[in-house]
């Protein structure tokens, strides 16, 4: 808890060559935190607005379809798909699989490719179909 600053730290973030596994690891935490705070608030607002009446719901949809609302909405959907895919990767790694260097790097990259594709597909279906 109370570290003596005069004592050396073990080699940490600064000495490792940056790789996709490190990026996906911190993205999992960042997207999870964003979803838990911003995503939760958006979900609560949507449901409470729907329960409160047409005017409250219109206030919500006006915000959600403003440029800021769209940026947050696309951001949240990307964060959701990234967190879901890196979460699935974690479940695989929890059983002790996928630690070989090549496979680990490949699936780390795939979570980011997948989240971008799923976000695009999701909004294509929302905007294209509705």
């Amino acid at each position: 808890m109370h570290r003596n600053p005069s004592r050396p730290l073990s080699p940490h973030l600064t000495i490792w060559k940056w790789g996709p596994h490190m990026l996906v690891s911190i993205l999992h935490r960042v997207t999870g935190s964003g979803l838990a705070v911003v995503g939760s608030l958006a979900l609560v607002w949507w449901l409470v607005a729907a329960a409160s009446g047409p005017e409250a719901y219109r206030t919500f949809t006006d915000w959600a379809t403003s440029w800021l609302g769209i940026v947050i909405g696309v951001g949240l959907s990307w964060a959701f798909f990234q967190h879901t895919l890196s979460g699935l990767r974690h479940l695989v790694m929890d059983i002790g699989a996928g630690f070989e260097l090549g496979a680990n790097k490949f699936w780390a990259n795939m979570t980011m490719v997948g989240s971008a594709l799923l976000t695009a597909l999701f909004w294509f279906l929302i905007v294209g179909v509705k």
Binding site: M1, H2, R29, G32, S33, L35, A36, V37, G39, S40, L41, L43, V44, L47, V48, A50, A51, S52, G53, P54, Y57, R58, T61, F80, T84, G87, L88, L91, D94, F122, L125, I126, V129, K130
Partner: protein, 136 residues
């Protein structure tokens, strides 16, 4: 005041048998959320639009309201566990940590309470699906 070191106090007592509990619940809730969010995304994509009337009619159906209640409960549970680990990793001062975790618990219970009540209010509304709610 005891002169024992902390390790001497706990040595020989065995584990609390709860070391992996938080970790396991994170995984368990994540699998539940995977199923529930696939359901939510499929439901949203199948709705003709996301207008007030459509969403009200959809959530009046028990087969939408109940999964939505579960989704809200598990989402807030999972998010609370995740944010708690983030706080524990980055907030080292005992007082700030206790304060941050207390705040997180308040946020979780207030948010989940509001969302759950909102779903129940729509699901138990007197008006038949599709008709506007009675004026207050």
């Amino acid at each position: 005041m005891s002169m024992e070191t902390p390790i001497a106090r706990v040595r020989g007592l065995g584990s609390a048998k709860a070391g992996a509990h938080h970790w396991w619940l994170e995984r368990l809730t994540s699998v539940a959320l995977l199923v529930l969010f696939i359901w939510l995304i499929a439901s949203i994509l199948r709705l003709p639009d996301l207008s007030y009337a459509t969403v009200r009619e959809w959530l009046a159906d028990p087969l939408a309201a109940v999964p939505m209640l579960l989704l809200v409960a598990v989402t807030f549970w999972h998010g609370k566990m995740g944010l708690q680990v983030v706080i524990e990793d980055y907030v080292h001062e005992a007082g700030s940590k206790a304060f941050a975790i207390a705040l997180l618990n308040f946020f979780t219970i207030a948010g989940a309470g509001l969302a759950l009540f909102a779903i129940l209010k729509i699901a138990f509304a007197v008006a038949a699906p599709g008709t506007p709610p009675p004026a207050a």
